[in-house]
Protein backbone atom coordinates (compact mmCIF):
# COMPACT_ATOMS: atom_id res chain seq x y z
CA UNK A 1 0.00 0.00 0.00
CA UNK A 2 1.37 3.40 -0.83
CA UNK A 3 1.13 6.26 1.63
CA UNK A 4 0.37 9.81 0.62
CA UNK A 5 2.94 12.40 1.70
CA UNK A 6 0.53 13.56 4.37
CA UNK A 7 0.14 10.11 5.84
CA UNK A 8 3.87 9.54 5.85
CA UNK A 9 4.45 12.75 7.77
CA UNK A 10 1.83 11.81 10.36
CA UNK A 11 3.29 8.35 10.85
CA UNK A 12 6.77 9.82 11.18
CA UNK A 13 5.65 12.40 13.71
CA UNK A 14 3.80 9.75 15.67
CA UNK A 15 6.87 7.56 15.77
CA UNK A 16 9.06 10.35 17.06
CA UNK A 17 6.47 11.33 19.65
CA UNK A 18 6.36 7.73 20.88
CA UNK A 19 10.13 7.70 21.29
CA UNK A 20 10.00 10.95 23.22
CA UNK A 21 7.33 9.88 25.70
CA UNK A 22 8.96 6.87 27.35
CA UNK A 23 12.29 8.52 28.25
CA UNK A 24 10.34 11.55 29.57
CA UNK A 25 9.03 9.61 32.56
CA UNK A 26 12.49 8.36 33.41
CA UNK A 27 13.86 11.89 33.43
CA UNK A 28 11.19 13.12 35.89
CA UNK A 29 12.45 10.50 38.33
CA UNK A 30 16.10 11.33 37.58
CA UNK A 31 15.50 15.02 38.16
CA UNK A 32 13.75 14.41 41.45
CA UNK A 33 16.53 12.11 42.61
CA UNK A 34 19.17 14.62 41.56
CA UNK A 35 17.32 17.37 43.43
CA UNK A 36 17.15 15.15 46.52
CA UNK A 37 20.82 14.14 46.45
CA UNK A 38 22.26 17.35 45.03
CA UNK A 39 23.97 15.27 42.40
CA UNK A 40 25.90 13.16 44.89
CA UNK A 41 26.75 9.56 44.19
CA UNK A 42 24.24 6.98 45.34
CA UNK A 43 25.29 3.57 46.62
CA UNK A 44 23.12 0.48 46.33
CA UNK A 45 21.69 -1.14 49.42
CA UNK A 46 21.25 0.27 52.91
CA UNK A 47 17.56 0.80 52.30
CA UNK A 48 15.01 -1.95 52.07
CA UNK A 49 11.66 -1.89 50.31
CA UNK A 50 9.07 -4.43 51.34
CA UNK A 51 6.30 -4.64 48.79
CA UNK A 52 4.20 -7.47 47.40
CA UNK A 53 5.50 -9.12 44.26
CA UNK A 54 2.06 -8.87 42.74
CA UNK A 55 -0.39 -6.17 43.80
CA UNK A 56 -3.98 -7.19 43.20
CA UNK A 57 -5.25 -3.67 43.50
CA UNK A 58 -3.07 -0.86 42.22
CA UNK A 59 -5.04 1.61 44.32
CA UNK A 60 -3.86 0.19 47.60
CA UNK A 61 -0.41 -1.34 47.53
CA UNK A 62 1.10 -1.77 51.00
CA UNK A 63 4.78 -0.92 51.13
CA UNK A 64 7.35 -0.56 53.83
CA UNK A 65 10.65 1.27 53.49
CA UNK A 66 13.37 0.87 56.05
CA UNK A 67 16.81 2.48 56.16
CA UNK A 68 18.57 2.11 59.51
CA UNK A 69 20.56 5.24 60.21
CA UNK A 70 18.82 7.35 57.61
CA UNK A 71 17.57 10.87 58.16
CA UNK A 72 15.25 11.03 55.18
CA UNK A 73 13.83 8.59 52.65
CA UNK A 74 12.31 9.56 49.31
CA UNK A 75 10.01 7.07 47.59
CA UNK A 76 9.12 7.21 43.91
CA UNK A 77 6.78 5.14 41.76
CA UNK A 78 8.81 5.27 38.57
CA UNK A 79 5.97 4.17 36.29
CA UNK A 80 3.21 6.42 37.60
CA UNK A 81 1.99 9.48 35.67
CA UNK A 82 3.27 11.42 38.64
CA UNK A 83 6.19 9.47 40.18
CA UNK A 84 6.72 11.14 43.58
CA UNK A 85 5.17 9.14 46.41
CA UNK A 86 6.45 10.58 49.64
CA UNK A 87 9.43 12.03 51.49
CA UNK A 88 9.75 11.08 55.11
CA UNK A 89 12.14 12.59 57.66
CA UNK A 90 12.83 10.89 60.96
CA UNK A 91 13.28 12.99 64.09
CA UNK A 92 14.84 12.29 67.43
CA UNK A 93 11.64 10.68 68.70
CA UNK A 94 11.65 7.94 66.07
CA UNK A 95 12.70 4.50 67.27
CA UNK A 96 13.62 3.30 63.81
CA UNK A 97 13.87 4.63 60.28
CA UNK A 98 10.98 2.59 59.01
CA UNK A 99 7.74 3.66 57.41
CA UNK A 100 4.76 1.61 56.27
CA UNK A 101 2.08 3.05 54.09
CA UNK A 102 -0.16 2.23 51.15
CA UNK A 103 0.40 3.68 47.70
CA UNK A 104 -1.14 3.82 44.26
CA UNK A 105 0.64 2.13 41.39
CA UNK A 106 -0.69 2.74 37.89
CA UNK A 107 0.95 -0.32 36.38
CA UNK A 108 3.71 -2.86 36.85
CA UNK A 109 6.82 -0.85 37.68
CA UNK A 110 9.81 -0.32 39.91
CA UNK A 111 9.31 1.37 43.23
CA UNK A 112 12.43 3.38 44.07
CA UNK A 113 13.60 4.46 47.51
CA UNK A 114 16.52 6.83 48.02
CA UNK A 115 17.73 7.44 51.57
CA UNK A 116 19.93 10.21 52.93
CA UNK A 117 22.01 8.77 55.71
CA UNK A 118 23.07 10.63 58.84
CA UNK A 119 26.60 11.01 57.46
CA UNK A 120 25.32 12.76 54.33
CA UNK A 121 25.74 9.81 51.98
CA UNK A 122 22.92 8.45 49.81
CA UNK A 123 21.75 4.91 49.21
CA UNK A 124 18.98 3.52 47.06
CA UNK A 125 17.03 0.39 46.30
CA UNK A 126 14.35 -0.58 43.82
CA UNK A 127 11.67 -3.20 43.98
CA UNK A 128 9.59 -4.35 41.03
CA UNK A 129 5.88 -4.69 41.73
CA UNK A 130 3.51 -6.31 39.27
CA UNK A 131 0.13 -4.62 39.18
CA UNK A 132 -2.98 -6.31 37.82
CA UNK A 133 -5.46 -3.41 38.10
CA UNK A 134 -3.92 0.04 37.80
CA UNK A 135 -4.62 2.58 40.51
CA UNK A 136 -4.38 6.06 39.15
CA UNK A 137 -7.95 6.43 37.92
CA UNK A 138 -6.71 6.45 34.34
Amino acid sequence: MTYTRRETLVIGAGGIALLAVTPAMASVVEEAVAAFTGGAEIAEGGVEINAPEIAENGNVVPIEVSAPGAEEIMVMATGNPSPPVCNVSFGAGAASQRLSTRIRLARTQDVLAVARMADGSFVQATRNVKVTIGGCGG
Binding site: S82, S89, G93, R98, R102
Partner: protein, 108 residues
Protein backbone atom coordinates in the same frame (compact mmCIF):
# COMPACT_ATOMS: atom_id res chain seq x y z
CA UNK B 1 -13.78 18.83 54.85
CA UNK B 2 -16.61 17.43 56.92
CA UNK B 3 -15.89 13.75 56.98
CA UNK B 4 -12.14 13.71 57.52
CA UNK B 5 -11.51 11.55 60.55
CA UNK B 6 -8.14 10.67 62.05
CA UNK B 7 -7.52 7.44 63.96
CA UNK B 8 -4.40 6.57 65.87
CA UNK B 9 -3.32 3.35 67.56
CA UNK B 10 -0.47 3.29 70.02
CA UNK B 11 0.17 1.72 73.42
CA UNK B 12 -1.04 3.52 76.55
CA UNK B 13 2.36 3.12 78.17
CA UNK B 14 5.90 2.16 77.22
CA UNK B 15 9.27 1.73 78.92
CA UNK B 16 11.90 4.38 78.34
CA UNK B 17 13.80 3.74 75.13
CA UNK B 18 11.63 0.81 74.16
CA UNK B 19 10.46 0.95 70.54
CA UNK B 20 6.76 0.65 69.82
CA UNK B 21 4.71 0.97 66.69
CA UNK B 22 2.27 3.79 66.04
CA UNK B 23 -0.39 3.25 63.41
CA UNK B 24 -2.31 6.16 61.98
CA UNK B 25 -5.17 6.37 59.56
CA UNK B 26 -7.11 9.34 58.31
CA UNK B 27 -10.16 9.14 56.09
CA UNK B 28 -9.51 11.37 53.09
CA UNK B 29 -10.20 10.75 49.39
CA UNK B 30 -6.71 11.86 48.30
CA UNK B 31 -7.93 13.08 44.90
CA UNK B 32 -4.90 12.83 42.67
CA UNK B 33 -6.15 15.37 40.16
CA UNK B 34 -5.99 12.74 37.42
CA UNK B 35 -9.52 11.34 37.69
CA UNK B 36 -12.46 12.53 35.61
CA UNK B 37 -16.05 12.63 36.76
CA UNK B 38 -19.09 11.39 34.82
CA UNK B 39 -19.19 14.46 32.57
CA UNK B 40 -15.55 14.22 31.63
CA UNK B 41 -14.38 17.08 33.84
CA UNK B 42 -11.16 16.52 35.72
CA UNK B 43 -11.72 16.23 39.46
CA UNK B 44 -9.30 18.73 41.03
CA UNK B 45 -6.44 17.54 43.16
CA UNK B 46 -7.00 17.54 46.89
CA UNK B 47 -4.72 15.52 49.09
CA UNK B 48 -3.18 15.44 52.52
CA UNK B 49 0.26 16.76 51.60
CA UNK B 50 2.02 16.52 54.95
CA UNK B 51 1.88 14.47 58.12
CA UNK B 52 3.86 15.13 61.27
CA UNK B 53 4.12 13.45 64.63
CA UNK B 54 5.67 15.17 67.62
CA UNK B 55 6.22 13.99 71.16
CA UNK B 56 6.52 16.59 73.92
CA UNK B 57 7.72 19.04 71.29
CA UNK B 58 10.30 16.73 69.71
CA UNK B 59 9.69 15.66 66.15
CA UNK B 60 9.25 11.96 65.56
CA UNK B 61 8.39 11.90 61.88
CA UNK B 62 7.69 14.47 59.18
CA UNK B 63 6.33 13.11 55.94
CA UNK B 64 5.51 14.89 52.70
CA UNK B 65 2.82 13.01 50.78
CA UNK B 66 2.20 13.10 47.04
CA UNK B 67 -0.88 11.99 45.08
CA UNK B 68 0.55 8.48 44.75
CA UNK B 69 -0.34 7.76 48.38
CA UNK B 70 -3.59 5.78 48.55
CA UNK B 71 -6.90 7.24 49.69
CA UNK B 72 -7.41 7.12 53.46
CA UNK B 73 -3.67 7.38 54.08
CA UNK B 74 -2.31 4.75 56.43
CA UNK B 75 1.01 5.67 58.02
CA UNK B 76 2.83 3.35 60.40
CA UNK B 77 6.17 4.01 62.11
CA UNK B 78 8.10 3.29 65.31
CA UNK B 79 8.67 5.68 68.18
CA UNK B 80 10.22 5.65 71.61
CA UNK B 81 9.85 7.83 74.68
CA UNK B 82 11.97 8.80 77.63
CA UNK B 83 9.24 10.37 79.75
CA UNK B 84 5.48 10.40 79.98
CA UNK B 85 3.82 12.89 77.73
CA UNK B 86 1.70 13.45 74.69
CA UNK B 87 2.00 12.54 71.04
CA UNK B 88 0.53 15.08 68.65
CA UNK B 89 -0.39 14.03 65.13
CA UNK B 90 -1.05 16.62 62.45
CA UNK B 91 -2.26 16.22 58.89
CA UNK B 92 -2.11 19.14 56.44
CA UNK B 93 -4.60 19.33 53.57
CA UNK B 94 -3.97 21.00 50.19
CA UNK B 95 -6.82 23.40 50.91
CA UNK B 96 -5.15 24.67 54.08
CA UNK B 97 -7.15 22.61 56.55
CA UNK B 98 -5.18 21.11 59.38
CA UNK B 99 -6.40 18.02 61.20
CA UNK B 100 -4.86 17.12 64.49
CA UNK B 101 -5.26 14.64 67.30
CA UNK B 102 -3.28 13.89 70.45
CA UNK B 103 -2.67 10.81 72.53
CA UNK B 104 -1.22 10.77 76.01
CA UNK B 105 1.24 8.05 76.95
CA UNK B 106 2.63 6.96 80.31
CA UNK B 107 6.06 5.74 81.17
CA UNK B 108 5.82 2.05 82.13
Amino acid sequence: MADVKPRVKLPSSASAGEAFTIKTLISHPMESGLRKDGDGNTIPRQIINRFTCDFNGTNVIDMALDPAVSANPYIEFDAQIDAAGEFTFTWYDDDGSVYTTSNAIDLA
